[in-house]
């Protein structure tokens, strides 16, 4: 029996940068096949080549035994290939149902869109996710009104609506929580039984081991290893992904902060989706924010940073009440904010790495005049301390991979010497080696006296990094877990406990 899809020695360059030097994989019919590798190793690029959105330089893609020459995504779709885009492919202004059937609208005899049929089909597809969809996800909703996980669900439904034979999920679970992932995997299982083949890309190895039959590992644009999941283990796979770099995380040292006076105190903070949030944070402390996604953790961080309004409550820094209505005021008070959504919140696209790093420093230091030469040495020092890989400070930020970009954005705030660092799920889509660098860095910062507020959608990160975790539900703190109580079990329990 021929494989559903085979890629052989695929090569792709972007200008001078080689994205793929020798990518290969074989996807058997009816299997779930993992594609893993560090940031920037070329997974998304390979996926897009298969789906027709990126043009390959050389190499073969064979589908059902026939070589495929693709010149557009439409042709890939005609060949039964469908891609879940890492950055999604939804039209924000359009409704969920219109997005799902965009380009393949059911028509009536006159060639008009058959709205009834479209709504019915969309509802039927969405129905499968109803238990985990959350509020506001229905076929008439506008995509721009949805939360990130809901958008991912819509993108999944959109892919499934195309009745594909081969589906590529490029980090389709990145914004999903447990229950959503579980349901998603169940659906994959059902389809797999019907002979659909899946390529599954994720940085969450636990998920890979939970759902995949085989694993292809890529490194630096090359396919380096193939494993049968049942015959291997995580350590082996990780080693194949990163080469020989060690990246284990030691748990955070348990430190007693009770003696120090609080740097940041939040009393009864209220906002659009926050209710009566109070806590305090001490110098050197890494305070985690846990819970299911979208329970107000992100909003809290943005509110503290002045990017979202607070309607009530008080914020004190070093005992003094402060009013932070704009990010500018926050920067001037010594806050730093690192978002997980780089493209939207951080990247100054098309501008140099230097500018991307320096911009906050100029604001924090109230600079009027700028002498680029003077800052450059200091910034490259900071960037190097983070193990950032970049050609030169003058290169455009877009030339870096996501992980390296994120390091630049962290460096942006290190340059301002922040007293409170707000981390808003900062490791989204970052590979394990980069993550390890990042954790080391945060820990060093804290050790040097910074106070860190850290929200992560992955429990393991909270457990690995935090001294204390506040668990959120529906905009409130429902539990506070001290270092000793920080276990996966306790976190999950606290997150669901009061939700149930």
């Amino acid at each position: 029996m021929t494989a559903a899809l085979t890629a052989r020695s695929v090569q792709k360059r972007f200008g001078a940068a080689v994205a793929l030097s020798n990518a290969a994989l074989t996807l058997e019919r009816g299997e779930v096949h993992a594609l893993v590798g560090a940031n920037g190793c070329g997974k998304s690029t390979l996926s897009k080549i298969i789906a027709g959105t990126v043009q390959r330089d050389s190499g073969d893609i064979v589908v059902n035994g026939a070589p495929l020459v693709l010149s557009s995504p439409a042709e890939a779709e005609a060949n039964g290939i469908s891609l879940f885009y890492q950055e999604l492919s939804l039209i924000p202004q359009m409704s969920v149902e219109d997005n799902i059937f965009l380009g393949r609208e059911p028509r009536n005899g006159a060639g008009f869109v058959d709205r009834k049929a479209l709504a019915k089909k969309a509802d039927a597809l969405l129905q499968r996710f109803a238990p985990v969809a959350g509020r506001g996800l229905n076929s008439k909703a506008r995509v721009s009104d949805l939360s990130p996980d809901q958008r991912q669900i819509v993108e999944i439904v959109k892919v499934l609506a195309r009745d594909p034979d081969v589906v590529i999920f490029d980090e389709a679970t990145a914004a999903l929580d447990h229950r959503q992932v579980e349901l998603f995997f169940r659906i994959i299982g059902e389809m797999k039984d019907k002979g659909v083949s899946f390529l599954f890309i994720s940085h969450r190895l636990a998920e890979v081991f939970a759902v995949c039959d085989r694993i292809t590992v890529m490194r630096n644009g090359e396919s380096v290893d193939d494993f049968v999941t049942a015959e291997t283990d995580m350590d082996t796979v990780v080693r194949a992904m990163v080469g020989d770099i060690a990246h284990d995380l030691d748990p955070a040292p348990s430190t007693d902060f009770t003696s120090a006076s609080a740097r940041l105190v939040v009393q009864g903070a209220r906002g659009q989706r926050l209710q009566d949030v109070s806590f305090s944070l001490r110098p050197g402390e890494i305070l985690g924010l846990g819970g299911l996604q979208g329970q107000g953790q992100s909003i809290l961080l943005q509110s503290l940073f002045g990017a979202e309004p607070l309607t009530g409550g008080r914020v004190l820094i070093e005992g003094r009440p402060v009013v932070v209505r704009t990010p500018r005021a926050a920067v001037r008070h010594g806050f730093g904010y690192v978002s997980g959504d780089r493209g939207r919140d951080s990247a100054l696209q098309g501008r140099s790495i230097f500018e991307n790093m320096a911009i906050a420093e100029w604001v924090a230091e109230r600079r009027r005049l700028v002498w680029p030469g003077r800052l450059q040495a200091r910034l490259s020092e900071i960037a190097q301390s983070l193990n950032t890989k970049y050609p030169s400070l003058d290169a455009p930020i877009d030339a870096l991979s996501g992980g390296n970009q994120q390091k630049v954005f962290i460096a942006r705030w290190l340059a301002t010497n922040p007293v409170v660092l707000l981390l808003d799920d900062p490791t989204k889509g970052i590979d394990l080696a980069a993550k390890a660098d990042f954790f080391r860095l945060v820990r060093n910062l804290a050790a040097a006296g910074a106070a860190v507020l850290f929200y992560s959608s992955e429990d393991a990160e909270l457990i690995g990094l935090c001294h204390r975790v506040l668990v959120f539900n529906s905009g409130r703190i429902v539990a506070e877990l001290e270092r000793a109580e920080l276990t996966s079990f306790n976190l999950t329990g606290a997150a669901y406990g009061s939700a149930a």
Binding site: T53, V54, A307, T326, S346, L348, V363
Partner: protein, 318 residues
């Protein structure tokens, strides 16, 4: 080869090449075209376009589909106000500059507030403002261009000052220097680029994007008002539609100069070259013995050709 191609698609290089080619064509068509005196005169006309394009460039670089269509009406307004304040008196030149620049600056700020506070798309806001200013001009002047330029101002714009170059060219050079300084040596300049590249990210870095953007439209107004002063210095007296002919050329000079209409890129030196190239093109076309329609066809085709070389948007399939 790759380097050569990249060099060729560099806007500064391209605009310079275009200028050289146009000079060559001009000299070929009418020997003596590329002489000093004529070049100085072309530069004078370019300077007027270049000054208004400076403000246009700032607004475009600032992003969010920035564009200022009200510059033409503001030039007319600046010329009218300056002409009335001066009334041919050399002593009143400074107050004329202050009055014309100040009024245009304030109107520009109103544009900026419409764009930032009310969030009206710049094209629409400045288009609407253009209509209002034109109406205001009719009310102020009843279609009659009272006022005229002071002799000293006319000499400054039209007559050689040093090295056979008129004074307005030195003003232009000064403005170019100031633009370079603002964009490359001040935090404000980098904030403008940051805002043009990604407004939300800039705000999260502490840039007061609303304020900066409002200021950009104010500056664009200011430059247009000052351009109006130059225009009345050039023509001696004004009429209410004197600025209309600068609106789209100011946008084109910016584009030819390598500033993407999407914002966040480019610099003023390219725009300087763009303004010169555009003026030169019109000048060469004037000297061609063609029917008007033939000149138009060539003008349109050259514009399209220049844009084809580097004014293109990104491919979707890479």
């Amino acid at each position: 080869m790759e380097r050569f191609r990249r060099l060729l698609t560099e806007p500064l290089v391209l605009a310079s090449l275009a200028i050289l080619v146009l000079l060559g064509v001009g000299e070929f068509l009418s020997p003596g075209f590329a002489r000093g005196g004529q070049i100085a005169r072309i530069l004078t006309v370019s300077a007027i376009l270049g000054l208004v394009s400076a403000g246009q460039a700032l607004v475009v670089i600032g992003g969010r589909e920035g564009i200022d269509l009200s510059v033409g009406a503001l030039i007319s307004l600046g010329a009218l106000v300056a002409g009335n304040v001066m009334s041919g008196e050399n002593g009143a030149i400074f107050s004329a500059i202050l009055a014309a620049g100040g009024l245009a600056f304030v109107i520009g700020l109103v544009n900026g507030m419409g764009v930032t506070l009310v969030r009206i798309p710049p094209l629409v806001m400045t288009l609407g403002m253009m209509g209002v200013i034109q109406g205001g001009l009719v009310v102020l002047s009843r279609g009659i261009p009272s006022g005229n330029a002071a002799p000293a101002l006319m000499t400054f714009i039209n007559r050689p000052l040093v090295f056979g170059l008129p004074g307005v060219l030195f003003v232009w050079a000064l403005v170019a220097l100031a633009m370079w300084f603002i964009l490359r040596r001040t935090a404000l300049g980098y904030a403008i680029y940051a805002m043009g590249a990604n407004e939300r990210a800039a705000r999260l870095c502490g840039v007061r994007t609303g304020l900066v953007r409002t200021l950009l439209y104010g500056l664009s107004g200011l430059m247009a008002g000052l351009t109006g002063v130059c225009v009345i210095g050039y023509t001696g007296n004004s009429f209410i539609s004197v600025g209309d002919q600068y609106v789209l050329p100011s946008v084109i000079a910016v584009v030819i100069g390598g500033v993407s209409l999407a914002g966040g890129t480019g610099g003023y030196f390219g725009v300087v070259l763009g303004a010169i190239a555009l003026t030169l093109l019109q000048s060469v076309l004037t000297t061609l013995q063609l029917e008007f329609w033939g000149r138009q066809l060539i003008f349109g085709a050259v514009l399209l050709g220049l844009m084809l070389l580097y004014g293109r948007t990104k491919r979707l399939r890479v």
